[in-house]
Each structure stands twice: as structure tokens, then as C-alpha cells.
Amino acid sequence: MERISPSDVQARLDRLQNKALYLHLESTTGAYATHLDSSKHPASAFISNARIRYAHGLIAGNGPYRVGLKTETGWVYAEGLTHWEETESERLILAGHDSQGKLVVTLMLSPHPF
């Protein structure tokens, strides 16, 4: 993966707008959070292959980045994004990695199920 280039990600967001897409959205502290540090509260959520269509999508911030997608009935939001997969031509794969390189958030969009 590469460090996010906001203009490239924005171009991809524009290309995917108003298309029928599959979304994977996830945020996680990992299953070992409390085992490694008892003061940590473990919290994670993911949804895989949710079907969405957005009319408007933006990337914001100066890094780590935020992405918001405005759908017909609500919003999709992710914060803490640091990397993207520039070799993907059809899908958009965004991830946020913490200072240890571990994934903490990911947002992925694709015309096909993941």
C-alpha cells in the first residue's frame, strides 16, 4: 500500500459515485487490546459487502484523512485513513494504520463483492 494521495483518492471517489457498489467498513482495536493493556477498552465493528450507492463522496483532512459518502438515505464515514492501494484500478481500498503499522480502520468500495 502507499501513503494516501488525496487527489488520486478523490478522483477514484468521483469515478465510483452513482454506481451500485459493495462496501466493507471496519474499525478495530484488535482482539488483544485488553490482554496487552488492561486499561484499554476493546471496541470493533465491521460490516462486509453492504450494498450502497452514493451521490457525493469527499476525502478531507491533511492526513490522517477522513472520508464521507452521502447516500440516498444517510452517510458513510471513516476517520484515520493513512494508506490506499494505488494498484487497484476498479476498487477503492483505503486503510488507516497506527504507529505500530496495525490496521485500525478500513473503508473499501467495489462494484463486486469482496
Binding site: M1, A31, Y32, H35, H83, I93, G101, L103, F114
Partner: protein
């Protein structure tokens, strides 16, 4: 001599950190090993440093790593059971148990290695161990294989005592380290490797022995 070992663990790399030395030892003595790995670890957080995998590519990456780890240990038979990482505790129990029952019936192992339910930190570990204990427990007592459990929760020794099986795997460290390093996306994780590289006293301390609790049915 152990004839056939069935290893049931949920994630690629559980075998490398938890049992690689013991497995390599038994394989050298002539044992057959079947490793039933429940998932592809597709929800893992380690993507390599720097990240070369992502959530979409991770299952493919980890499958290849798992195959390489099995080759390093000498495991002859790898079964990918196709369950979804993080979801074992929510999986249809009858489906999960039926897969394990079929393996026990087919292989008739004399030793099973899994996680100790309730003392293995990750919900997938606990649910995997619970499924194995449930399934083996249904066999008539005289047909039950010995079950070695891996446990590492902070409270495990307080509650289930000290491990009764302690295996010196120092002669098999090359296989074990090769297995760990085969999991290229995972093994640099700081909580797994401590501060250092794969060398020295720290390494022997960390990986030179493997511990198991024999499950009492």
C-alpha cells in the same frame, strides 16, 4: 509413539507460535499431522511492515503464508475449513461440530491439539477450543484421543493450574522459526516478537519450550 495428530486452530500462524516445535518433533518421530485451520485470518490487523497486504488481499496472502509454514514444520495434510475470521463464536454450532466430527471419524487421531476454551484470549480461540472439546467429548471414552490445549490468558494458571505437558523444542527451533517467518505479514508484530529480532537468549526463552494442558473430560 504418536501416530496421527489432528491440530484444530482458527488462524494461520496459531500453529507456528503455539505448537510448531512439538509438531516438528512428532513428525520427525514418524507421526502424520493434519492441520484443520478454521479461517484464513482475513480480519487480522497486521498487514506487513510496511503494509503490503490489505483487507481485500489478506486472505490470499495468509493462505500462502500458511502453506509455507506447514512446509517448514513438515505438516503433511492441511485442511482449510473456510470459516470466517472473528466469527467462530457466532457460527452455526451444528455446522462447526459436524466438520470436526467428520475429521475425527476420518482420521481417528490419537492426539488432538487445540486452544483451551475460556483461557485463550481471542474469542475465536475460545470458540474453536470449545467446539473441539464438545465434539471429542461426545465420543465414547475409550475412543477419545488425548487433547492437548494451549492457554495463555493472564489468569489461566490460577484457574487451571500449571501446564502438565512441557516440551523442550530447542532442537526444533529451526523449523519453528521458519514457520513463524513464513507468516511474513504477521511475524514482525511487536507484541509477538518483543523488541528484538529472531536471535539470542530472548529467543530461546520465548520459543524454546511449548506448554500444553491435557484436557480432563
Amino acid at each position: 509413539m504418536v501416530r496421527h495428530i489432528l491440530v484444530v486452530l482458527p488462524h494461520p500462524d496459531d500453529e507456528a507460535f503455539g505448537a510448531a516445535g512439538t509438531l516438528a518433533m512428532h513428525i520427525q518421530q514418524g507421526a502424520q499431522v493434519t492441520y484443520a485451520c478454521l479461517t484464513l485470518g482475513e480480519m487480522g490487523r497486521n498487514m506487513g511492515i510496511p503494509p503490503f497486504a490489505n483487507r481485500a488481499t489478506l486472505p490470499h496472502v495468509r493462505k500462502q503464508e500458511l502453506e509455507a509454514s506447514c512446509r517448514a514444520i513438515g505438516i503433511q495434510d492441511l485442511r482449510l475449513l473456510g470459516f470466517h475470521d472473528k466469527m467462530i463464536e457466532f457460527e452455526d454450532q451444528a455446522l462447526l461440530d459436524s466438520k470436526l466430527e467428520a475429521l475425527l471419524k476420518e482420521l481417528r487421531p490419537d492426539l488432538v491439539i487445540t486452544f483451551y476454551p475460556g483461557y485463550s484470549v481471542h474469542p475465536d480461540h475460545d470458540a474453536c477450543g470449545a467446539a473441539v472439546i464438545r465434539t471429542v467429548g461426545k465420543l465414547p471414552a475409550e475412543e477419545r484421543p488425548v487433547v492437548y490445549c494451549i492457554a495463555f490468558s493472564h489468569n489461566c494458571e490460577e484457574e487451571i493450574g500449571s501446564p502438565d505437558v512441557i516440551i523442550d523444542v530447542k532442537p526444533f527451533l529451526p523449523q519453528k522459526l521458519a514457520a513463524i517467518q513464513a507468516h511474513r505479514s504477521q511475524f514482525r508484530a511487536p507484541e509477538l516478537m518483543g523488541s528484538g529480532n529472531l536471535s539470542g537468549e530472548d529467543l530461546l526463552e520465548r520459543y524454546g519450550t511449548e506448554h500444553f494442558w491435557t484436557y480432563r473430560f
